[in-house]
Amino acid sequence: MRASQPGPDPGGVGEPDLNWLLGHVARGDQGAFEAVYDRLAGPVYGLICKVVRDPAQSEEVAQEVLLEVWRSASRFDPARGSAATWVMTIAHRRAIDRVRSASAELQRDQKSAAATAVPAADEVAEAVEASLEAERVRRCLDSLTDVQRESISLAYYGGYSYREVSGLLSVALGTIKTRIRDGLIRLRDCMGVSW
């Protein structure tokens, strides 16, 4: 339903419709790709920085991700999700691949990571300034319980597996699993995601 019409953009990144642009990217339209870049490079880079931390590495991963969008645009299926989410999913997975492979050689200090992975109030405040969508995200995050918010932040922004989150928060594995799901469902309803 939503997929065929340029409805409100799930990423909140604005018009024109990204699905439409990606269709053109899939056919080799470099101008359309540039438009996609202009729209999504900010969130892609921001998310990767959040997970990877190191700016130089983040830039590398962002380049890989954006190039992957160009390369595999034909594989994007609007029936299965929004274009922005497709791109963010690629970005998130690549970022996680990077930190998980890096953590083999360089053990991250889990404690300090735990302290910084949860967006601090002022970090969220910065994000709020970034857009009205961010404001809504913050409000919705605020409506979660502490465990829900912390586990979602650690998993998504911190790039930790839920087993790691369970260790970091000293909360049972099964509890983390359900808290994350319950929290995301609450966020979904709060943000009015209609997929």
Binding site: D17, Y162, K177, T178
Partner: protein, 273 residues
């Protein structure tokens, strides 16, 4: 067994956040193939996660864009996944899956797909329609050469409305330099009470700020909308209605989302005579 099912179903959340690894992940993905409600839930939760990304949007280093675009230009794209039928060799050649052997030619024109920019077909018509409004056409066609033209493409209704203003009898073009650099151009159709605003070279703003267009009349000041973010230094056309004779057109810098009345000194004001 029932418990196991339930257990699997609650993994939708951690799966949507890529927070599940290894064999557990594989097992859940197999389950997803069979469990439609799980698939639907994962989709919604992934969209939700995508919005968490938007909340932490950053400013990529400026050189990244050039590098990515250059890399794209020399990177072959994947063909679509063949849905029901095997691709013909011609299609493979065309989609670039298969390299052209030396000395062979591209498939004959009849077998080619429509060009990627089918959405542009209105342009020649638009250009033809603007014999009189040459400058206006030049402005619009100028956008056609940059990626922002696609924004026009994607909003056909707006295209129509914009062409209507451009071709309106008595439509006039005004330009003025802004106090912060760059030039604004307004095409006004007073009788239709409409105007189109575009700009070039306005300094980029942080995500927290936005350029807002105002109709500043003697009775009161009305918002005419937020200027779309520029692409390649060009601000895509903004169509506004409700113009009255005697109005001045102004632009201010406002907090993201805009305001109901200007809160800063206009960077540009043009009287509409």
């Amino acid at each position: 067994m029932k418990l196991l099912r339930h257990d699997l179903h609650t993994l939708t959340g951690v799966y949507a956040l890529d927070a599940i690894e290894g064999s557990e992940r594989d097992r859940f993905e197999r389950h997803l193939h069979r469990c439609q409600p799980c698939g639907n839930e994962v989709r919604g939760l992934r969209e939700t996660a995508g919005r968490l990304a938007v909340a932490v949007a950053g400013v990529p280093p400026p050189q990244l864009k050039e590098r990515v675009l250059a890399a794209a230009a020399r990177t072959r794209q994947l063909p679509p996944l063949a849905a029901d039928r095997p691709q013909s060799r011609a299609e493979r050649l065309q989609s670039g899956t298969e390299p052209l052997p030396p000395g062979t030619e591209r498939p004959p024109p009849g077998t080619e797909r429509p060009p990627p920019t089918a959405g542009r077909t209105w342009l020649p018509r638009l250009a033809a329609a603007f014999g009189a409004a040459g400058l206006a056409a030049a402005i619009v066609l100028g956008f056609a050469l940059s990626s922002t033209q696609r924004q026009l493409d994607s909003a056909r209704a707006q295209d129509k409305a914009i062409s209507a203003v451009l071709t309106a009898p008595g439509a006039r073009i005004l330009t003025a330099r802004s106090s912060v650099g760059g030039t604004g151009t307004v095409i006004v159709a007073v009788r239709q009470q409409k105007l189109i605003f575009t700009a070039t070279g306005l300094p980029p703003l942080s995500a927290a700020k936005v350029y807002q267009l105002w109709l500043m009349g003697p009775p009161r000041i009305r918002s005419a909308g937020l200027l779309p973010p520029p692409a390649q230094g060009r601000t895509p056309p903004l169509l506004a209605a409700g113009l009255r004779a005697g109005d001045q057109v102004g632009v201010t810098v406002e907090p993201a989302g805009g305001t109901s009345q200007p809160t800063t000194t206009p960077i540009l004001v043009m009287p509409v005579r």
